[in-house]
């Protein structure tokens, strides 16, 4: 594990935390999505994202569950590297669907940054993750194909798009050591370098967006948390905190 440099660890954690929280957000729809098939699908896709986070965590600390838990759950809030998009609570289904699509459109590009990584393990994980992401995007697109053709649903989707877009821009905020990781060859580009491709995908899917009108979020190199982060983490720790010594 000692082949992971401090800079590499920082960019990996940015992805770990996004995947972890995105997975948690999706799985919270189990039982409450608009219909059974969708709550199962969201939870299933969420479990894939949790799997990606777990693979990256193993790359950082090995396979010991206690070490993984310590890193995955018990860092100070300022030590997390998640973005606001995955921290925010979105009680509306249409907002959640938009987050799913916008996140996955960027996630594919983010894994591609790892494909030629100087850390071979990251390159290997990216192959596995990309093979799964194809189906996440198919899920989001298939739903949108249907919903965007219905007037009422179309209007709700577009309203959600404009609500979620400023949050989605936080995905492209790089972790503090990103520049060093780039020099080391851990990643082949910065997160912000993906923005143009991602915006093209958004325009292609929903029609041209007036990007100048989208409120730019305040970026913190992923060191600051959204207000919804603390309650989200509390929900995640509800069971684990009952007894941290238990082996599940």
């Amino acid at each position: 594990m000692n082949e992971i440099s401090i800079a590499a660890r920082d960019v990996i954690l940015a992805f770990v935390d996004d995947e972890h929280l995105m997975g948690q957000q999706h799985t919270e729809w189990i039982g409450v999505a608009p219909f059974l098939e969708e709550d199962l699908a969201f939870a299933s896709i969420g479990q894939d994202e949790l799997g990606h986070a777990a693979m990256l965590l193993e790359a950082l600390v090995g396979t010991d569950d206690a070490d993984i838990d310590a890193l995955a759950f018990y860092r100070e809030a300022s030590q997390w590297r998640s973005c606001a998009l995955v921290e925010v609570t979105l009680p509306e289904w249409s907002d959640t669907l938009l987050r799913h699509w916008l996140y996955d459109a960027a996630e594919e590009l983010r894994w591609q940054l790892f494909q030629g990584s100087s850390v071979q393990l990251l390159a290997d994980i990216s192959v596995r993750a990309l093979s799964e992401e194809r189906f996440h995007r198919q899920h989001g697109d298939a739903l949108l194909d249907v919903l965007l053709r219905v007037d009422d649903a179309h209007d709700r989707i577009m309203a959600s798009l404009h609500k979620v877009l400023p949050l989605a821009l936080t995905m492209f905020d790089g972790a503090p050591s990103e520049a060093d990781a780039l020099v080391e060859g851990v990643i082949s580009g910065s997160l912000i370098s993906l923005l143009g491709d991602w915006q093209q995908r958004v325009d292609h899917r929903f029609g041209p967006v007036d990007w100048e009108q989208i409120v730019r979020p305040v970026l913190s190199q992923r060191k600051e948390r959204h207000d919804d982060f603390a309650p989200l983490l509390a929900r995640m720790l509800e069971v684990l905190d009952l007894d941290r010594t238990v082996t599940w």
Binding site: E37, A41, A142
Partner: protein, 96 residues
């Protein structure tokens, strides 16, 4: 929305087996939902998703008469049991 029936087959010689049903707005969503709802733990290697409307399903009366044709059962036990029952019925009513 339409109802779809889902079948899975493990690789090898096992046949496709019915595993459940789902609601979906179109064929693609049916496939996507089937993947997430029924195959997420690799329960099968091959997947069939069939619109319930496309399944030919006659009324029950169509098959019901075949429930009582023991002569079609190759073991002979059912025929023997029926002959024995008829003999005993005849013995019990000798005057008829």
């Amino acid at each position: 929305m339409a109802i779809f029936e889902v079948f899975l087959k493990k690789d090898g010689r096992d046949e496709f087996r019915h595993v459940g049903a789902l609601d979906a707005a179109n064929d693609e969503l049916a496939l996507v939902s089937a993947r997430e709802c029924y195959v997420r733990r690799a329960e099968g290697d091959l997947l069939w998703v069939v619109r319930r409307d496309n399944i030919l399903s006659p009324e029950r009366e169509f098959t019901a008469p075949n429930a009582d044709k023991p002569h079609r059962h190759h073991s002979g036990e059912a025929v023997a049991a029926r002959r024995k029952a008829l003999r005993e019925m005849t013995k019990a009513q000798p005057d008829e």
